[in-house]
Amino acid sequence: MWQRRAFLKAAGAGFAAGLLPRQVEALERSDLVFASSVQTAAGSYGAVLLGERGDVIASIDLPDRGHDITISREAGRGVVFARQPGTFAVVFDPQGRAAPVTLTSVEGRHFYGHGVFSPDGRLLYATESDFEAARGVVGIYDATDGYRRIGEFPTFGTGPHEMLLMPDGVTFVVANGGIETHPDFGRTELNLETMDPSVVFIDRRDGRLIGQLRLDAGLHQLSIRHMAIDGRGRVWFGCQYKGAPADKPQLVGYATMDGEIRLIELPPGTLADLRNYVGSVAVSADGVTVAVSSPEGDLLVAIDAEGKRPVLAETLRNGCGLAADGMGFVATSGNGEMIGMAGADRAAQKFDFLFDNHILRVG
């Protein structure tokens, strides 16, 4: 298991912070472990592993700001991806047996902050930008050979962001945000007038396009960016709107491999409070509740996936990270807070570091 025992060994050379006796004690009480990129109080960047009570079990340093993390039990590794348009990814051993290894994006590509392992842990896939051609690609890395980059395939769109592996183990779903950037111009968005976001399903074995879904043409400035898969295999997504601020398009929807894509109707007040910005999406452990967050609106919303309606809204200043936690969710903020929501029995905690946008439930 990736839980107590594994992390009891996490004080190895790879981690900046070894386990102190009180942490060992905390870990012995922990059933769940979470991972997140953070910014430290001193302004540097890293990633942390947290026990379910919020105890810092271990941490690694990062050369710059990290974003999402993916972990494979089969590979025995986790990977922190640099925030876009970053050029590094750090592979680490959650059990602390090996020092972290930093990967560098190849020439002409940068990372978008998200990626996944293959089910057997032998391959790592990352969303990347072929920025000269303004097209997204999935970079393929051989986890059995020092994470050597062995190929890529297109995402059939621009600005890919989160990618997930569907429950069938062979299909990727990728959110093409539709926004063109280029490292020559920092984070400047270069094509807001002509954006073309989409959700694509891709066969991971050969990169073949299985299906590409777009929202109505009038919503071409609605950037689809983050996703989570519910118990019925529907891909829930959250959007960020790049059109006029006075517009209030719906921001949350789902797509299926059968070719359905639709936005659900959030009530006007909830929608207004999301401020045209969804920063993270998660599904509860039982697969029936979807949570979305807006750090712009300081809002967390839990949605009944069957009824397709919100069942709870909660305020968390600068809140963005979401992960399943027992019956509900754990949520983290850019102000260093961690709270439970929608059924998670968890006392609010404040850390001396700031959480990046995503938190991953590891075990």
Binding site: G177, D184, F185, G186, S223, R275, G279, E296, N318, N335
Partner: protein, 355 residues
Amino acid sequence: MRLLLLVLMMVFAGPALAQTATPSQVLDAAVNKVIRPAVAAFKTRASGLESAMGGLCAAPSEGALAIARQQFGLAAQAYGRIEFLRIGPLMEDNRADRLLFWPDRRGIGLRQVQAIIAEQDSGASEVTLLRQKSVAVQGFGALEYVLFGTDAEGLAAAGAEFRCRYGQAIAANISGIADQVAMGWYRYDGVASHLTRPVPDNADYRTETEALEALVGLVAHGIEGLRDTRINPFVAQGGEPAKPKQALFWRSGLTMAMIAADIEGMEALVAGSGMARAVGPDDAGLDNSIAFEFRNAHRAIGLVTLPVEQAVVDEKQAHALDYLIIVTQSLQTMIGEQLSAALELSVGFSSLDGD
């Protein structure tokens, strides 16, 4: 006498140094003392540009062309002072891109503008039709090519009627958008009242903290955008040679003037609103530090006197541009991180770049 002066200075300097601002005062001053006058000035300059283009097309001459070019510079710089105000009316209807589509990474706009002129595309010489076209052919970038690009001298005489009418349509479009931006900022129950009187029912700014975050974020992001799109792309860096034709307005020689205008606009918002004076005693020096760094930016810009293609290979002026990059990084840190922290704001740690 000298002693008297010293005493007087101390009497007046004391309260001045201790002067602080409340969030409410900052928001009110930002809108009423800085933003509204700046958008009104842009409207006036854009109107002047439209008139000058009308005059040029009605009676082409060397003098009329010179006036049109001068008015282009004044209007562009007036826009430069407000272009970082990427909230409210500037963000509606693609107005920011319509006014200035930049960066144009693949030169799409340039090719389209050249095609319009070569083909005498009648759909571009009438403002209502022009608005239907790509944003890249209807703003300052396109008009710069019309007025300063290849064969632009022909505008001074008869025979360039189409090119002139196209330029006139662009100027009318710019002027129309400037009207809408100004009206948006003066409109009742618009962005100005939401910023100055945030209430929970507002869809945009519900609290003073959110409104302040928006203002501080405008400057932090504006500085970053200035560096990323207006300076970095054309200076020599990391072993790469300088690319002066990646500079905005290299044809008209307004590259540095536009950078200066951008800096002035943001500096005016910081100083005029007093946002860096709404801090606790521990951060009381921040306002001065930011002002000092803005002055450094102006000093660096002032050293770049040659056209950009010469400036980037002149040792002293290239060094000034490098220094300007450092200054913008420093300003971004001071405003986006230090000031933001001093005001207990969260200027986009999570949401800055849509991640």
